[in-house]
């Protein structure tokens, strides 16, 4: 360890224009985010390709309606599968968006503002989606 390294803080700009890799001993957040991207990515290949093939090719968007979705969601296992797809996709996407924001929005104040807006939209729609799947009542079909 050189003295130069010890004076550099987390994520400080180097004179050459690059950024030091944060090496705080406090948390392994970036390592876990790397692991999460690989694990969720592989799971999402199966979940998303299945979702696309079923709804876009087998059912067909042209023939889609609320009754088909309600029929499908009447099975709690499908709702659970949808919660998994939704949660993995949103968190994988949120972390991916974070990579892009940290790469392209370098001013700390602006970066915080952009992150605030993007995190709010993504987490807000994730919560709404989970809420919809959890509060879904299959009897709305028969009550009509």
């Amino acid at each position: 360890m050189s003295t130069e390294e010890s004076t550099a803080g987390r994520g400080e700009a180097r004179p050459g224009g690059g950024y030091d890799v944060p090496r705080g001993g406090r948390s392994n957040f970036e390592v876990w985010s790397w692991v999460f991207m690989r694990v969720s990515g592989v799971i999402l290949i199966f979940l998303s390709v299945y979702h696309l093939v079923w709804w876009n090719l087998v059912v067909g968007v042209e023939h889609l309606d609320s009754e088909l979705v309600i029929d499908r969601w009447a099975n709690p296992l499908y709702r659970l599968l949808n919660i998994a797809l939704l949660t993995f996709a949103m968190l994988h996407g949120l972390n991916g968006a974070r990579y892009s924001i940290e790469d392209y929005v370098r001013k700390p104040g602006l970066q915080l503002a952009v992150k605030g807006v993007v995190y709010t939209i993504v987490i807000g729609s994730l919560i709404f989606g989970i809420f919809a799947l959890l509060t879904f009542d299959p009897s709305i079909l028969t009550n009509r």
Partner: protein, 164 residues
């Protein structure tokens, strides 16, 4: 606090000749952000079903517009490319020896996407020109024989009635 913020212009970025690795990196980002954008819209529109199924059926009309077919194809391509290229990255991460064959792996992943997109493009585009039925038409007609009041069947019925 860091004082220096260096960023490069898009022109500089595009003149960088990183070949396959660079182009797939850029496409991976673009397709990922595109899918995330659609995902947000899609989750909000689907979540509407618990508030009002009728409103959900109205919202679906946006997807049934022929112009949306282009977006549907783009979403298909984005998900498939992000999946195949992402799998390539995972394989390279856990099996570094194949890094020597990165270029070939890029072309293999691209080939998988292109080959999968051929039938998908046909299924999406052919119905617009009347060369083939919409995906799922057989299944749909079967369903409408028993569930005639289903919104998609009612809609179809009125369109057919108009044509007659």
């Amino acid at each position: 606090m860091a004082k220096e913020y260096r960023s490069r212009s898009l022109g500089t970025a595009l003149r960088y000749k990183g070949r396959e690795g660079m182009w797939t990196w850029m496409l991976h980002r673009a397709t990922g952000l595109g899918v995330l954008l659609f995902l947000i819209i899609h989750v909000i529109e689907t979540g509407l079903i618990v508030i009002s199924p009728e409103f959900y059926d109205e919202a679906l009309l946006l997807y049934k517009n022929p112009f949306f077919r282009i977006a549907e194809l783009l979403i298909f391509f984005s998900v498939l490319f992000h999946a195949a290229n992402g799998l390539r990255i995972v394989v390279q991460d856990f099996w570094p020896a194949v890094m020597r064959r990165q270029r070939q792996l890029v072309w293999a992943a691209t080939a998988v996407v292109v080959i999968a997109m051929i039938p998908v493009t046909w299924m999406m585009v052919a119905p617009l020109f009347g060369w083939a039925d919409e995906p799922g038409t057989g299944r749909h007609l079967e369903r409408c024989r028993s569930a005639t009041t289903a919104p998609a069947c009612v809609l179809e019925g009125s369109a057919e009635a108009e044509a007659l």
